[in-house]
């Protein structure tokens, strides 16, 4: 199964006594878009944070782009450079301008020359339509603009996979659309994406498959149409009836 870009095999994780992830098996093919949903505390965020090892799993095997995640630091930095991540709280670097936020990692991690990194950053900022904010600092931008800047920052590393951890949950309702639009465009451009979100409209529009998680387990995985039209598990039905 070498064509899979992410493979998770019997992954288990505990926070002290709390069993967050229970025997997770997940494969993702290149260019696949997957939406992960489920009630809060079900382990969705932990699952995607395991993919770039922001959380360490205790049992099982995770292979990302042919490299197995282990204690080896060099591996991890290499994988993280290939896996972009967008957070609920944006997590832009407040002491750097938007442009510097976007060029920092390409310059120091990928050793891109400064000029080239800046060109690339401006191009990515243009794609999310905030190129005119490049010289400003994160604190001067609205939530929606900050989140789009965060997407651009992740894309500047030219990642193969993008992880989104509830990217619209901290936003005011009128700003959600601009961020989702940016994500839809990215999906159409053919990026491999794993998105944790409650935005079911977004899931219906772009996702190939939807995963429903509850209590640390993947309860159901189905292609999008099937998932919404014909959920198999009772828990999925209850969840969907609550949020739709």
């Amino acid at each position: 199964m070498s064509e899979q870009i992410i493979e998770m095999n019997e992954v288990n994780k505990w926070f002290d006594d709390f069993h967050v992830l229970k025997d997770i098996n997940l494969t993702v093919a290149p260019k696949q878009k997957i939406v992960v949903c489920g009630p809060s505390g079900s382990g969705k965020s932990t699952l995607i944070r395991c993919i770039n090892r922001l959380e360490v799993h205790q049992k099982g095997k995770i292979v990302v782009d042919g490299i197995e995640l282990s204690e080896d630091t060099k591996n991890i930095e290499q994988i993280r450079a290939e896996v972009g991540m967008v957070f609920q709280q944006f997590n832009l670097f407040p002491h750097l301008s938007i442009l510097d936020n976007c060029t920092l990692a390409p310059i120091w991690v990928k050793k891109t020359p400064k000029k080239k990194a800046e060109e690339l950053a401006l191009r990515e900022l243009e794609k999310v339509q905030i190129q005119d904010q490049a010289k400003k600092f994160p604190g001067q931008l609205s939530g929606g603009q900050q989140q789009r800047a965060a997407i651009a920052r992740a894309l500047c590393m030219r990642p193969k996979i993008m992880l989104f951890d509830e990217p619209t949950s901290a936003l005011d309702p009128e700003m959600i659309k601009e961020v989702l639009d940016a994500m839809v465009n990215l999906a159409k451009a053919g990026m491999t994406m794993i998105v944790v979100t409650h935005e079911m409209g977004f899931a219906k529009e772009v996702a190939d498959e939807v995963i429903f998680m509850d209590e640390g387990m993947i309860v159901e995985r189905a292609n999008t149409k099937e998932f919404f039209a014909n959920p198999k598990s009772d828990r999925t039905k209850v969840f969907l009836s609550q949020i739709l």
Binding site: L54, R80, E82, F93, H95, A105, V109, M157
Partner: protein, 424 residues
Amino acid sequence: MMNKLNFLKPDRKNLNTYLYSGSFLFFIAIFDVFLSSFFKINITSFLPNLVSFLLPLILGILGLHLIRIEFSGIKNLDLLNKNINTNNFNATLTLIIIFAIIKSIAPVTSWFFIDANIAGDTKEACTGSGACWTYIKIWLRRFIYGMYPNELQWRINISFILLIALAFVGYFPSEKLRKFLTLYYVAIYPIIAFILIYYLISGGTFGLVWVETGAWGGLSLTFIVSFFCLIFCFPVGMFLALGRRSQLPTVRYISVGFIEFWRGVPLITVLFMSSVMFPMFLPEDFFMDKLVRVIIAISLFEAAYVAEVIRGGLQALPRGQYDAAKSLGMGYWKMHIFVILPQALKLVIPGIANTFLALVKDTPLIFVVGLLELVGMLNLAKTNPEWLGFAMEGYVFAAIIFWIICYAMSKYSYNLELKYKTDR
């Protein structure tokens, strides 16, 4: 038609009447204190003693009561009433503070200036009842240069001027050189400073006479010790702070142990140990100058404090900053150099400034190893049989010098805070 005057409750009607009578009483009160303080005239001496003593206070309270008019429409009066004259209790406190200031101005100015002496070269020139600045004047060289030979003091002057000039290099860099500024201040500048002080002030080579560190002293030694301790304790403290938060148990325990050890012992003990115990552990033929030992001891001591201050800043950063940096593929050092430390250090500028001020004011303690900086020289001068009895002048002088140094530092730190202020 005349409005009825109610002196118990001043209001906007008859504003001028209240205002004029109130201010009149208030100024009478101030004037009375002023006369008695500066000219020793008591205009109320016809009254019984106690009444005469309390009269300015009573008049002042009455005056302030009369001008306490709500919404008078006069901006400054409203401001005054709001801030220092809200009720009789506040008015009393305000008056007492004003009187205390007036009362103290007279003796202080006369001690400092009017009755003070600065002429002459000997103790006998000081005839007035005020300060004897002659003492400071005669001893000034010693206070600044310690026992450093008079004819060689140009070496100290030149190296200090050079060091100050080199410190300003950061103000005129071209775009190209700007990225080396941090490196310059963290590494190159201290090395240049050390070389300058080693070759120019200490001497011994290039035809310069060697001056042993025991002869150094006074204000210049204060500067040298503070300067090197500040430069060394900061990076050491930074590494200790990082070490204390490290994932590696060995690094963490060593850092914690180091910090807790140095924070737990008094500085004076550390200095004693540096001069008495430390050499015992060294090989027979190994010699380390006591100034160097003292600088190392103070630096390590203060580094423990700096470490804890910086750790506070590290802990104040949200975890998301670490996550974001890691998710971009940055390793430990890149993450800390570009993302974490710039933010954390900015947060702790006030705390660092605090520690640095304390360090400068701790330097007089080096007298325990026989090094006499400014305060040490003062203590030496005050016991000189020719100049007995002028301790006061000396301590006032030292207080002023230390205050100027510390105030400049605190102003500078405040500027830094403003310069690097960013909103989250």
